[in-house]
Amino acid sequence: MPLRAGSYMREMVFSELADVVGVDNVSTREADRIAYSCDYYWVSELWADRGCDSPTADFIVHPSTTEQVSRLCKIANHYKLPLTVWGGGSGSQGGALPIHGGIILDTKKLNRILEIDRTALTVTAETGIIMQHLQWALEKEGFSTMHEPASIGCATLGGFIAHRGTGVLSTKYGKIEDMVMSMQVVLPDGTIIDTLPVPRHASGPDLNQLFLGSEGTLGVVTRAKLKIHPLPEERRFHAFLFPDLHAGMEAGRQIMTRRLRPSVMRLYDQAETRRLIQRVLGIQKDGSYLVFGFDGDKDMVNLEMEKALAICRAQPHEDLGREPGESWWNHRYDFFFPNHMFRLPQAFGTLDTVATFSNIKNVYWAMKRVVEEHFPEARYIGHFSHWYEWGCMLYARFIIEQAPSDPHEAVVLYNRIWDMCLRAAMKEGGVLNEHHGIGLKLGRLMPELHGPAFTVMEKIKNALDPNNIMNPGKMGFEDR
């Protein structure tokens, strides 16, 4: 339903929303419409920078209870208004952009910590809590979620759940989908459901995994119970420089396939190594830089570290010792402040993907070839920073120093790089994304990635959200 500014239907909807959350928690102010028109998606930044017509919501609402979220979903369904959930708004895929107007549902007032279970080591919290706030509160009690992404201060717990987010300690502690025990979800029709109290069972499919990564298209996750961990007695790092990526990858693979459990492991390609070594060590060196860390009880760290060092030393190497890793840990968020981070007028994209050890190097080289052979204005860098027993994630990036001045031309170029790189990655056994999600940015490639399996997702979407109110136009689902 179009809600023309000044129309009385707009006022009627406003009143209904205000009846749910209070008049102070509904906004149609231009200041808010601007602030919610741009997330961390490069195209939304470009649009803002160039003064283009950015997508804006008709209403921004701030519910503070699950019941309010339920009532808001019912209103959205009644009027068939798009409802886009906004946590921190720091997603890089355009997932929180209100591309069809309607309602932005900001979750940040759903920010209570409801229970810390010191016996089972779990925490239950509302999903609008900024992850760093949850983490600080747990640290005061001697615990941690061990979810430590660079966006920890920017993003909400719900944002990580919506996009299957990860943190730098994922290699030992898992991604968010490994941390979630159970969730409360408001379905598009307003029904409030709870998933089972434990995530391991044989009582039907795991509904947690249905909503994890659904990016606000299937409902609103309002509450989650997560695993927590005691703060480790010891956390220790070590760094090596290998002559090339192949040697570094082999060391990393062996660490994982020997079933050691580093909490952190980061391997940088030669291009990124040059940049990183210069920044961290202040010297110029060529090669492939690997830093890893173990945490936990001191004697366990000693043992695992000893075995990992032996694996690395069996490869041609330069031993850089502990300091570079410790320095990186202490400054791990600094690189994301604007004086260090890529930003306009640069065009840049993070092509994070994941594959098995058998395929991941081919994925790396395939995307690198695409960038270097087809886009001479771009450079390609990459690192491998989330490792599994069977493979690892590639955090590849392309960077163009000066984006085309014409926004249309810039977006055509940008999307072409994405399409070509990700098709090359998929051909070699990679996937569209590892931990940032799909959003608006990659939705068009979802049917290609999943093949006939995508129809399963579409049917679920249609069954749960027949009016297509929940974050329409994202994830590759039907647009409005």
Partner: protein, 368 residues
């Protein structure tokens, strides 16, 4: 309108989320336009002339308490409060400031205080047991909030000065420093008041100017450029800590309490002064200093801004106060010691339960 540095800040902050979790107002309201990123997005549109000021955007610029937390947190050192202040000056130049801002300006120009209370009542409740000396080299600038709303702070500081044997005087023609006008964007009006007040101060021949008000302290130091040369400017906590160190002041009575110190925005983040309040508390027998998790340059703010924020947005001021009280209570302290009258008054308005709020100078005076 914006300096190169401010334009650089807008350019950097508009797409950056890295301080949103520490932004005093942003965390409290959960509203994106209240964060430095939100401000940056709006100001970027203004700067690039994609839009002009309207009531919504103006209101947003006055919904910042200028606490400086974002600046203190930023690895790149970007200073959004400076850009917001520049925006307010632009808004004022165009005559688009909120009515409440105009009212504050009018009050200050007519009565010398932002409340519009009679100028003649300024020192009505400030008492000096011994008359101040006319040839004293120390001037005590009381400040509007203290004089009109919390004379107990002034009376405590006067007791401290007199106990230390410091000859001091008040300024009979004391008015606002003009700091609220600076904060509101009235640069020219603020300068006019500064010139007039500075002349009164210079005429006294004083060598030391001391105040219990952090906003006034910041005004004298930074906004009165070239007007008070040769006069040492001190906050009352600095001066009292110095008197204690020199042995001129010795707290003799015990004050058995766990006290948590609060760092004022204008003393702390704006001027790097953190130690005097702690030095004073540690000199008092029986005091157990309990630090908040958020302390020194990362202290929670109560929206000082020379009283502007809590005047324009009393409901938001109460929310900030509740947040600070909650943080203070986590220490287990029974007293929250402040150095800023605006903060003390904002906290009092929130009716804190289970913790007493006192200016550290009041605590000191009780122990002499």
């Amino acid at each position: 309108m914006f300096t190169e540095s401010q334009a650089g800040t807008i350019d950097a902050c508009r797409f950056c989320f890295m301080c949103r979790h520490v932004c005093t107002l942003g965390v409290t309201t959960g509203n994106e336009s209240d964060t430095p990123r939100g401000k940056g997005l709006i100001l970027s549109r203004i700067l690039q002339q994609y839009t002009g000021w309207n009531a919504d955007l103006v209101e947003s610029m006055y919904r910042c308490c200028l606490c400086g937390m974002c600046h203190a947190w930023c690895v790149g050192g970007y200073d959004m409060p400076s850009a917001v202040l520049a925006a307010r000056r632009d808004i004022v130049e165009k005559g688009l400031e909120p009515a409440a801002a105009r009212q504050m300006r009018s009050n200050i120009e007519k009565t010398g205080n932002p409340f519009g209370l009679p100028a003649g009542d300024r020192f009505a409740r400030v008492t000096c047991p011994r008359p101040p000396k006319k040839d004293a080299s120390v001037v005590y600038y009381v400040g509007c909030d203290t004089a009109y709303h919390q004379p107990e702070i002034a009376n405590a500081f006067i007791a401290v000065l007199q106990r230390a044997g410091v000859d001091f005087k008040l300024l009979p023609e004391e008015t606002s420093t003009g700091k609220p006008l600076t904060v509101l964007g009235y640069a020219d009006a603020a300068r006019q008041i500064a010139e007039k007040l500075a002349e009164s101060i210079r005429k006294t021949g004083c060598t030391v100017l001391v105040t219990t008000c952090p906003a006034s302290y910041d005004a004298f130091l930074k906004d009165y450029s070239g007007l008070l040369d040769g006069i040492e400017i001190l906050h009352a906590t600095e001066y009292a800590a110095r008197l204690i160190k020199e042995g001129r002041l010795k707290p003799s009575k015990a004050y058995p309490a766990a006290i948590t110190p609060h760092d004022s925005d204008f003393l702390g983040r704006y001027n790097g002064i953190y130690d005097p309040i702690r030095g004073i508390l540690q000199s008092i027998q029986g005091v157990e200093v309990r630090e908040m998790s958020w302390t020194r340059d990362k202290a929670h703010s109560c929206g000082e801004s020379a009283g502007v924020f809590s005047t324009l947005h009393p409901e938001l001021g109460l929310m900030l106060a509740a947040r600070l009280v909650d943080e203070a209570k986590h220490t287990g302290a029974c007293v929250l010691a402040t150095t800023c009258p605006v903060t003390k008054r904002t906290l009092a308005a929130a009716k804190p339960d289970g913790i007493e709020v006192r200016d550290v100078i009041e605590i000191l005076a009780e122990t002499l």
